[in-house]
Symmetry: C2
Subunit: 474 residues, 2 copies
């Protein structure tokens, strides 16, 4: 045994010891916070959890989440806000729910943006002619009919933009080339890029697609024009083309692009869909599971957010089938127009403002339904301890991890900001942003077994929280 | 220590012991075959190998393969057979070589196919309207101007096609949906699919793209019409769309597609390019390194085969710069029209038939230039033992592996079938078929360090084989 080896062993020992200590301290403090009675009550649900898990992974529901999701997205494809196909898909999922003898369903109408992509083409004219893969960003205006032809200036970050001289930006096409760190950080170049470039005099702006990997894959998504700026056309291009343009410019050559884009924007009526499985003892107290039914206009919206939609659809269906009616009401919400900045969720907030405090716990899955690992939970320490203890029941499927997240989910952030505890599905979604808002968001991303496990976890957690004797503290 | 653990240890021990034995036997037999003198002579090249490795990975050549490849593919983009851009790229690489004071360059003209992709569109009309991503296959004929509209029949393999009743195929669009096993097996559905479907009366054929992973990525490639069949239009569609159509058909629904494709086919003159670094003692004896300069008409042809082209371009350049002139001639060949079935290589074979036996060893890199692992070697046991011993010199870069391959490379198979020993670059190309023949074959697939290592290995092996006192046995 050489010295290096001894040393490495020592370091490993110290590391594992100190890590074990942290975990133990957290566990100790949760044990103290919860007390033996609460922990015992949580563990009393082990049999119910097993029943749900068996039914979903081995019983009649095995493969059903995948199958129903596939039928749905194959039938409708993409379901953009404001379209007839979205409304038809809402009717379909309502019928699917009624077929399960769940009839406590209401829809709430609201006005949603209806942005329609027309023809889009970007051609590099200099230093050579090349077509670029492109997806215009949501709410982008059209170019003039003759297109926009201009030189490119490449901008790495907003600091560089702000410190640029206005004469270097004026009349140019800005291409943002940010390093992809996290989605929430990098997406600012997509959402605010056009407005900030326009303020400096740019006549169009493009953004390196917000994702870490590409096979010539542009990623669309929403952008919002600020007030008092000229609304300039804006689109996403691929990692590959952005890097190509960067290399060309770095060699001292000029890049000239021609952008031709058409689009239209108006508003339509859509609906949030609310499915209730009424509670036996506290029907006014709600445990909400949810996903959004709209998608971008590319791919099938299978991952974003078909998977989240269908595990949330499945929860009351499974409980109904198993005759497991909890004390509180399980409410499943299928949000509309999430992709246009939580339009459905804001409407729900406004409409139900007086009753928001009746929400005991709110869940949303909108970051993929890959293999479930646990939950990302927002709320106070006691709430997190309760959920952490519940997650211990899911050791057999390796879904015991609680991640602290002060604003889990997407739509439900509009609700949790009122101090209501909530959670999103924490899952093995490393490749989520490979497919997000691309033509590649299809059933090929989904896995039958992973969906079953997600459905089982989602349903069982919702049931336990809805049935347990105490409310989730806030 | 429990019983299971003891048992597992025993199994591991037995496995590692027997594996070690096999390796030792091979090594023993190579040692016996080669003899001490040969082994000693091979190891006498260790300093030269170090010099080349240092120069390429730390010295003036560091990053140069990547940079020159990037400049080349950024300037020309895709370089399809028969196009002016391909001929311009040949002129460019000749100039680049002359700039290195290497002037022993000849080009050999030959007739090549010039197939041009026009407009391509596939629309699913039933059960709903959806556009499919498409890439027509090389040599495909056009559809009639009004397109081809017909029902789809899905075929998993040729056995199923052959056993199908002709009335089930006649008038239909065949979609091949083979399981991707290896490229060489699965590609038959691309190359022969149209002919075999046509023979059964199909009016068009499509193939699930030949690759294991996709982000809505169609993969083009060559297909060849057989004699005495109607030439029907043929194209590749994505894994996602093939799976979608399969699910729809499996549900008992009918799929109707409309295919609109235009293309043209004629012949043009292109050139093989031959760069010689003349040997000091045996100038007629050749050690050939090679890659092909043409590419498909999508992406940049950076991976297929820009990387192989540039590590082969680099070999004589580096030896010239380092003043390392071997006994035999190092010949670098940039094959043309590989993508239309080795047209350049066949011309070389025909033109040099009388001198083929002067080729001592021939190498080609055409399966990616990811991190090099060693070489795939064709030839007799003694030839393989020599190369295996040479590869031992590359332990510091983990490129010591010899894979036995009776037909390494692509173009060079036309030469090695004459009994000439040869090798291709064995590299960490697990993702090669993610990008192969797609718009995603760009510089983003390439890595600077991996290209340096590939260049160093390629150059040093070529030098040693060209300089060593004995010929590679055959």
């Amino acid at each position: 045994m050489n010295t290096y080896y001894v040393c490495a062993l020592k370091i490993l020992f110290i590391l594992s010891f100190s890590q074990a200590n942290v975990i133990k301290q957290n566990a100790d403090s949760c044990q103290q916070i919860l007390g033996d009675d609460v922990i015992r009550e949580i563990w009393s649900y082990e049999n119910v959890k097993d029943e749900i898990l068996r039914y979903v992974t081995e019983g009649d529901f095995k493969g059903k989440t995948y199958d129903e999701l596939a039928k749905f997205v194959d039938k409708f494809g993409a379901r953009p806000s404001g379209t007839e196909v979205l409304e038809n898909s809402i009717d379909y999922i309502i019928d699917l729910t009624r077929a399960e003898n769940i009839n406590d369903i209401v829809t709430e109408e609201l006005e949603v943006p209806h942005w329609t992509r027309g023809e889009e083409r970007i051609t590099m004219l200099q230093p050579r002619v090349k077509n670029l893969a492109v997806l215009g960003l949501g709410r982008s205006v059209s170019t003039p009919p003759e297109g926009i032809t201009a030189e490119v200036i490449l901008i790495n970050d907003f600091a560089q933009l702000e410190s640029s001289k206005e004469e270097d930006i004026r009349g140019k096409i800005v291409i943002y080339n940010p390093v992809f760190t996290t989605y929430s950080d990098t997406v600012a170049y997509r959402t605010q890029g056009a407005t900030r470039a326009s303020a400096k005099g740019a006549i169009a702006s493009l953004v390196r697609s917000v994702g870490p990997f590409s096979i010539d894959s542009p990623h669309t998504g929403l952008q919002t024009y600020g007030e008092n700026v000229t609304q300039i056309p804006t689109a996403a291009i691929t990692l590959e083309d952005t890097d190509l343009i960067k290399r060309i410019i770095d060699r001292g050559e000029k890049v000239i692009l021609k952008i031709e884009m058409t689009s239209s924007l108006d508003t339509k009526i859509s609906r949030n869909t609310i499915v209730d499985l009424k509670g036996t003892e506290k029907p006014d107290s709600l445990v909400i599971v949810s996903g959004h039914i709209d998608s971008w206009d590319v791919g099938q919206g299978a991952m974003d957010d078909g998977g989240g939609l269908f595990i949330s659809w499945a929860a009351p269906v499974i409980l109904k089938r198993l005759n497991l009616q909890p004390r509180r009401t399980i409410r499943s919400i299928f949000w509309t127009a999430e992709e246009f900045a939580y339009v459905g969720a804001y409407d729900y907030e406004k409409r139900h403002l007086d009753e928001l405090q009746n929400i005991n716990f709110i869940m949303e899955s909108d970051e993929g339904t890959f293999a479930p690992l646990g939950l990302a939970v927002g709320g106070n320490q006691e709430a997190r301890c309760i959920i952490a203890e519940i997650l211990k029941l899911f050791e057999s499927i390796n879904a015991t991890t609680l991640i602290e997240d002060d604003s889990p989910g997407s739509d439900i952030a509009i609700i949790t900001k009122h101090g209501i505890p909530g959670a999103s599905l924490y899952n093995d979604n490393e490749r989520y942003f490979w497919f997000h808002h691309t033509e590649g968001d299809t059933m090929n991303v989904e896995d039958e077994r992973d969906l079953d496990l997600g459905t089982a976890l989602w349903t069982a957690v919702a049931y336990i929280v809805a049935d347990i004797s105490f409310d989730i503290p806030r």
